[in-house]
């Protein structure tokens, strides 16, 4: 342990600390640059294409990814540059993202809102800044410049009507709801209850939230099968993730032959399950159509061309008979 001078240890440590902070900053910058694909270069060459900012609910959601891919493809075709960001299910974050878009002076904004109320400030900020904003897929309390999407009530009506037909109008039904308080959950519940009201023979045994989550749906369905046993004749799940979870529990309990399972969204896994004859039905929500429509509407707004205030892309019921006509969504 021979040290030349007593200052060296401390100097070395200070040096190391400085190196660490520089390294961290450099690393962060390098990663950001790599992932962004070098956006600086494009801006340098004075890109004249119209720019649309897109804030998505959550890119960890398969259906949202479908919308995103359709938007990117359509934007490519139309010569529109998209800036796509992920709201990660946080309305607050979406408001910030819209603020950033406004600051970036984008031509129009496409918002795929997280929540009816909480995402409204984002819409209002865009309106105040005079930037046209298109809501895609779900609605907000505040009125956007235009809306492209589907009526969630309609999807639920389609699914529940199918159940009523399969059961001949009588039997015990369970409903798995989405994250409580979200627009999709509220509207899908409303649509489903409308149909139930028209069929007094259908008895709603229970309605609980499995939070759009497949694992939670398995657990909930297991518990329901214990609680309601033989009286369960059908399950309506407000999205396919939950429908697939419920299906797993029903299959494990050996009850597939006497329980009808229906989901909504027609995600790839669900379509496959319908083709395999495991899932009885799902409701095709045309994510591609919504994504394409949103980009088209945004471009028309930038060009100051007239647009429909509301564009509804219709739903379609998917069963084994027509499943082959729906490609992998």
């Amino acid at each position: 342990m021979d040290m030349a001078c007593d200052g060296r240890g401390r100097a070395l440590r200070r040096c190391r600390a400085a190196a660490a902070s520089v390294l961290t900053a450099a690393l962060g910058a390098a990663v950001a640059l790599t992932l962004s694909g070098g956006c600086g270069r494009r801006e340098g060459t004075a890109d004249a294409r119209p720019v649309v900012g897109v804030s998505l609910l959550n890119v960890a959601n398969e259906f949202i990814v479908t919308i995103e891919q359709a938007m990117r493809a359509r934007a490519e075709e139309l010569g529109v540059r998209l800036i796509v960001v992920d709201g990660q299910r946080s309305p607050e974050r979406q408001v910030q993202q819209v603020e950033t878009f406004i600051a970036q002076k984008v031509g129009a904004i496409i918002l795929n809102p997280c929540e009816v109320e909480a995402s409204s400030p984002a819409v209002e900020k865009a309106r105040a800044a005079g930037v046209p904003l298109v809501n895609v897929n779900s609605e907000t309390q505040a009125a956007p410049t235009a809306f492209v999407g589907s009526r969630d009530e309609e999807a639920a009506r389609l699914g529940m009507t199918y159940i009523a037909r399969r059961l001949g109008g009588t039997g015990g039904v369970l409903m798995m709801e989405g994250y409580l308080g979200q627009a999709a959950q509220l509207k899908r519940s409303a649509g489903a209850r409308e149909v139930l009201a028209q069929h007094p023979g259908l008895k709603l045994l229970a309605a609980q939230s499995a939070e759009w989550d497949r694992a939670k749906a398995v657990t909930l369905m297991e518990n329901w099968l214990q609680a309601y046993g033989a009286s369960v004749r059908a399950v309506f799940a407000q999205n396919d993730e939950m429908a697939l979870g419920a299906l797993l529990a029903v299959e494990r309990a050996g009850r597939k032959n006497d329980i009808v399972v229906v989901g909504v969204d027609a995600i790839g896994d669900a379509l496959q399950a319908v083709r395999d004859g495991r899932l009885d039905a799902t409701v095709f929500q045309d994510g591609r159509g919504q994504g394409r429509g949103a980009v088209e509407t945004a471009l028309r707004l930038i060009r100051k061309e007239p647009v429909a205030r509301e564009t509804y892309i219709p739903f379609q019921l998917v069963t084994r008979e027509n499943a082959e006509t729906f490609g992998r969504n």
């Binding site: 990814v65 694992a215 697939l244 797993l248």
Partner: protein
């Protein structure tokens, strides 16, 4: 009174938890009794089988996080690590590709790598565990999304899904949990590293002054916790027959709650696997019972919150009375 060492052959703290967790035991019995009265299906073999199946994932995570909490740390990255290892395992579990061991080991290793990285950042980088694992929570989720392209990894072969099935009428996930819990309890009781976990959590400075490699001990705790989260991710993937990049959101909270209900101190140094299992069971029984009773989802959350805080409160009260 000269010291009669060895007179009272008390158990190691790892197991002593069993005897002194009266608050949780009572809560468990009371909940069970109430449910048995309110709905007859509760005590059916099929339902109790369901309960142990359902608690398995939370249980495996809770055993892992017990080790970390014992050192006085915390791990918030569990949920994301679960998703990541599930995606990794599902990628390697398509029918007819690899033997079962490959996806299972890969999932566990992915988890261990995340946990090990947590451990390194905490010990070498001296980043507080809360922050280090918060970073991992975000980063691991990102890696899961990249690996899966944001879509569930499906088309899983039957070998892995059998991991969520039954073996001799006992759910396999419950067997996995039993093995994990026994292994962890044995380690805490019978190995030097186990003793060191308590020492580091009880008084880090004193542990260092006793010549214990504090960094190594902490690293081990995080790595094991990560490996168990990886295992939980594999079991979850088997249960839902896909690797979901968005699975396991907020999964870190239930295990931490279960561990604390089970009497492990958030400050470290006190607790054990036995109490953790009780906490996990209590939370599982409550969740199952509320579903059976068709309690509205809104009220379920309130009831769960009250019971978590209540069980811990009762325990603290009882212990402070005892001290007096």
């Amino acid at each position: 009174m000269p010291c009669p060492l060895g007179k009272r052959n008390r158990l190691n703290p790892g197991f002593r938890a069993w005897g002194s967790r009266m608050g949780v035991v009572l809560a468990l019995l009371a909940t069970g009794l109430a449910l048995a009265c309110l709905c007859p299906q509760f005590l059916s073999v099929a339902n109790l089988t369901n309960v142990v199946r359902q608690v398995a994932i939370n249980g495996i995570l809770a055993v892992g996080v017990t080790l970390v909490l014992l050192t006085g740390g915390v791990d918030l990255s569990l949920g994301s690590v679960v998703a990541l290892s599930g995606v990794v395992a599902a990628h390697l579990a398509h029918p007819g590709e690899y033997p079962l061991a490959v996806p299972v080991l890969a999932g566990v290793l992915a988890g261990a790598a995340c946990g090990g990285l947590n451990g390194l950042v905490v010990t070498r980088g001296r980043v507080p565990p809360f922050i280090a694992t918060l970073g991992m929570m975000t980063a691991a989720r990102g890696v899961a999304l990249v690996l899966s392209g944001g879509r569930p990894v499906s088309n899983m072969g039957p070998a892995l899904t059998r991991l969520a099935g039954d073996w001799a009428r006992v759910p396999v996930p419950a067997l996995v949990l039993a093995a994990v819990a026994l292994g962890a309890a044995w380690m805490l009781r019978n190995t030097r590293q186990g003793r060191y976990l308590y020492a580091v959590g009880g008084n880090e400075q004193a542990a260092r002054a006793a010549g214990i490699g504090v960094r190594g001990v902490k690293f081990l705790a995080y790595a094991l916790c990560g490996a168990l989260a990886g295992l939980a991710g594999v079991v979850l993937a088997a249960r839902i027959t896909t690797g979901q990049p968005n699975a396991g959101v907020a999964y870190e909270l239930d295990p931490i709650a279960a561990v604390v209900i089970g009497g492990t101190s958030l400050a470290g140094g006190v607790g054990g696997v036995g109490g953790t299992l009780l906490g996990v069971l209590l939370m599982g029984v409550i969740g199952n019972g509320l579903d059976l009773l068709n309690v509205s989802s809104y009220y379920q959350q309130i009831v769960k919150g009250l019971i978590i805080v209540g069980a811990v409160w009762f325990d603290r009260q009882r212990r402070s009375v005892e001290r007096e």
